[in-house]
Symmetry: C2
Subunit: 332 residues, 2 copies
């Protein structure tokens, strides 16, 4: 049972033409109508599927798209991935996914794997600074960043949500409610948000109220709990992601802080459970899926005339986790 795969040669033989002609017909080259039809019918009969392996070697690239995310478990990145997959699929391109864990070393290693695979298009949520990305550029890989920018890499286009506006809206909303001690609970790679946060808060900013966690749930919880314990005077917190928001809710509950009575909370990223929470969480919604989809579009369009980047709008969705600074937090 030596089931050899049917190759272009078989089709050529069966159709009585040369392999070059078959290749041309199948990749849309010029051919006479009758030849074209004959080749197509024969190919269909033999159930011929061109081998990507041969093609890839010949054109020294593997068509596929590389997608590097910090954590595929995070629904935000899940939605980004979904967008990429949707767009890639409509173009018939396979997507190779890697999880960096927000670790630059890990990222560099995964980039190496992708290069080895001959991937010539990469979408990534970059971790750390942009040093890892020299090899892809050198290899001529079309690269697009998603959700975050990398320090020192403004030569790579990026598709991001309008963090600036989002943070500003959130801060304005909170200060508008009378809050003066507003904390920021951030994650990796949120430098820009931080600077906007400081800027928006102006004289009210308190560096002690700004704390960044690493990517993990544990780290997020520790950061939130530490913040709440050390600074019982804070009345509002802006969480820079759904993991951080989750941690904030959990830590608040553990410390017997009532939301929103004792603590107002705004979370970046609208997730389904934000509505299930009690109280339902006020959020800054980000178009995660669109970010992925647009990034894929950009990367598929290739190097030709690609814009500097894309900025997608965010939206403040008011639910029930913020209250005016009326009842101050009760002393323990």
């Amino acid at each position: 049972m030596n089931m050899r795969r049917t190759t272009i040669k078989d089709v050529a033989g069966a159709a009585g033409v040369g392999v070059a002609t078959v290749s041309r017909v199948l990749s849309g080259g010029s051919a006479s109508p009758e030849t074209r039809e004959r080749v197509l019918t024969v190919a269909a009969q033999l159930d011929y599927r061109p081998s990507a392996l041969g093609r890839n070697l010949r054109q020294r690239r593997s068509g596929g798209i590389g997608l590097l995310l910090p954590d595929i478990t995070d629904t935000f990145y899940g939605r980004v991935a979904d967008g990429v997959l949707a767009c890639a699929r409509s173009a018939g391109e396979p997507v190779i996914v890697g999880a960096t864990g927000d670790d630059p070393e890990s990222e560099a290693e995964l980039i190496g794997t992708l290069l080895e695979q001959g991937v010539d298009r990469v979408i990534a949520v970059p971790s750390g600074d942009g040093d890892s990305w020299a090899p892809t550029l050198r290899a001529g890989v079309v690269t697009v960043f998603a959700h975050r920018l990398a320090a020192g890499r403004d030569d790579i286009p990026a598709v991001v949500a309008d963090d600036r506006a989002g943070v500003r809206t959130a801060v304005d909303y909170l200060t508008g409610l009378g809050h003066r001690r507003v904390a920021y609970l951030g994650g990796p790679g949120q430098e820009q948000r931080l600077s906007v946060f400081r800027q928006a808060l102006g004289p009210l900013v308190d560096e002690e109220l700004i704390v960044v966690a690493r990517g993990s749930r544990d780290s997020a919880y520790a950061a939130a709990a530490g913040l709440f314990q050390h600074r019982p005077d804070l009345t509002a917190v802006l969480a820079g992601g759904n993991l951080l928001g989750e941690a904030a809710v959990l830590a608040a509950r553990e410390l017997d802080l009532r939301i929103p009575r004792d603590l107002s909370l705004i979370m970046f990223d609208d997730v389904p459970w934000a509505e299930l929470c009690s109280p339902p969480l006020t959020v800054i919604a980000q178009p995660a899926r669109d970010i992925g989809y647009r990034a894929a579009e950009l990367v598929l369009r290739g190097g030709a005339r690609r814009p500097r980047g894309v900025l997608l709008p965010t939206e403040l969705i008011v639910r029930g986790s913020c209250a005016p600074k009326g009842t101050s937090r009760s002393p323990r």
Copy 2:
């Protein structure tokens, strides 16, 4: 700037040996110590990275692992994917991910893409019956199912949670609390759970209380809302997945059913927000990440001596969404 990629030929030339020797050294074949060292140093100097393209063509397989999931947005599948990625990465294998949307046609199409790519190992959460999988088997692709089995495909090993025990535990727990009208809110591909549900409920089973939704959130919500409206007499519901559970909570809230006073709820799959919910949700935890990891192990081990399948334990985690059937649901 014709930056041709450094190839095995370059290394061979620079080291003064034949390409065969270089290949052998790099893939762990036999070679004299001095030759080996020379080749390795030269390869390192030239920063040589073997091209997967050439290798793949030669061995007519692309090493990579195909992963087909219904919905990468669902955190359950996100965790499965995470397990697969972790295992694959430790083996240095790239993973090509596709989202089937629980649609057999879509699945078949994606399988086609994978075959075209020369993927020779596939992990999948199968949609519908197993007809789509004939091509992979015919092509000699090592296939492993995850989380679900496919009807008529007991020739493919599967890594699944112990649904049987999970459903039985849940049903026993609910009936033990005195519930008699227990509903099952299911999704696609849960035939086995359904049969166990009927079996565990015995004479109490009521076919009208069994409803299955399609994969989407909307469909899940519609199913839950419909169920609750049509059968106000039910007192407990088992949701067969986090999407279904979410829909149940939402629908219950919309219809002013209090959990657990009016309605007891158990949800399959423990997700972070189950604890954030109020009341926190009693769940049947499934080792999603392990499912992915084990499936990847199986598929990496290859066709050699692979077991019929793997059954991973579930666990009932009691939180606050179930109550004894004391206060009956108030009539509207």
